[in-house]
Amino acid sequence: MSVTKPTSPCPSELLLDRYRLSDLPEAQHHECSAHIDQCPRCAERLVILKKESIDFAEGFNIPNLVVDALQRAEKTSRPWWASALRPQWLGAIAAASVGVMAMVLLWPQLTEGPPGLSPEPGAYRIKGGFSIAVRVKRGERQWQAKADTWFEPGDNIRFIVTIPSAGYLYVVGIDASRTVTLYEPYGGERARRLQPGDAQAVPGAIELDDTLGDERVIALLCKNLHQSKELLATAQAVLAKLTQEQTHLQIRSLPLKCAQKTMLWRKRAHHR
């Protein structure tokens, strides 16, 4: 016995939801968009989903049970020393910490060059030079980002890489809200194996989101294939090890045996 059903050319509700929330890889997003443009039924389905979402957001009220769960989670995630420290110790510990913290906080700033696309120390390297540059498109204007480039929400960016030997490219970002994003491969797809070559444009453009501030971006060229989840988990683990006084900008590389380049992206609101 076989289970079959007529194949519908229309996207499922899951795909429509992902489309609506810009959660699809670029190619699939365009495919879905093209279908909706020529399918009145799907266009109507999308309108209904959007309206439903707007109605929900307007009247949304998080149930107490969920808020309680959040408060419990916040309590349990508080570091152990927060409850262990006694007030009378604080003065002595603060004084002793000043020297140590000064070293921790100042050292990276002394070794870090001007913000931008210049490589930073501490990364694995491949002889012959793996390099990555960022091409920015804002409206009709396109240019290659430099050290003094300010990014803006909505900018479209593409990566241009020079690769000395074949490998898999990953680009991980940690933004000011400490959210980890995998820019490449985009949308959690399997990484592409790139062949050696100079100034290759990596397929696909990325639109920058609304999170402002400084973002640490690490590009990795790996000989072996890694799962997207593994990359994200590795970055999150490094992030989790930072103390409250350290910033995400102090992360220079990930503990993976890949050639790595580090960038600092500075993002501000639309500027005239």
Partner: protein, 168 residues
């Protein structure tokens, strides 16, 4: 996770979670309970959800599984009541909607069959899409659907027709 982040996720994704729960449970109160459970799960997962390739897909799966748990819990409660008191014959609903009958079948089946059936019959996903969603081989999805149809035949007393459910 901070409150602002929870607000953001709830505002942008809450409607799809609630819609999905309503669709599977067909009961407003149960659906709202399920939505709470989903967001409690999101909170408990800590930062793990950031590792998911797609937040939407992840929420779809969690919602489906939590709704199936609710269906099974309700079935167990009913079975206990039946053991304790005189058995009330179940009134068979008129077959106005194929999904009503499928909902009956879901009650007694393991999650691996039920979730595939929901994606196939309720969501009208094709087997390839389900395979990608669940991280299974397409053949495994087909096999599970075959088993579901066989179970349904026993429970319902007729063969499930080829899918003709309209998308909601």
């Amino acid at each position: 996770m901070r409150r602002a982040e929870l607000d953001q996720i709830y505002r942008t994704h809450g409607s799809l979670v609630l819609r999905r729960a309503r669709k599977i449970l067909r009961d407003e109160d149960l659906a709202r309970d399920a939505m709470q459970d989903v967001f409690v799960r999101v909170i408990k997962s800590g930062d793990d959800f950031r590792g998911e390739a797609s937040m939407v897909t992840w929420l779809y799966r969690i919602t489906t599984n939590l709704c199936l748990n609710k269906i099974r819990d309700a079935q167990r409660r009913r079975a206990k009541l039946d053991e304790q008191g005189p058995k009330v014959p179940e009134v068979k609903a008129p077959v106005a909607d194929l999904r009503l009958d499928i909902s009956r079948v879901l009650k007694g089946l393991p999650t691996e069959l039920s979730e595939v059936a929901i994606y196939y019959y309720f969501d009208e996903m094709d087997q390839q899409e389900i395979a990608e969603l669940l991280g299974l081989a397409r053949r495994s999805v087909g096999y599970r659907l075959q088993r579901f149809v066989e179970e349904a035949r026993v429970l319902l007393g007729y063969d499930l027709p080829e899918v003709s459910v309209q998308r909601v």
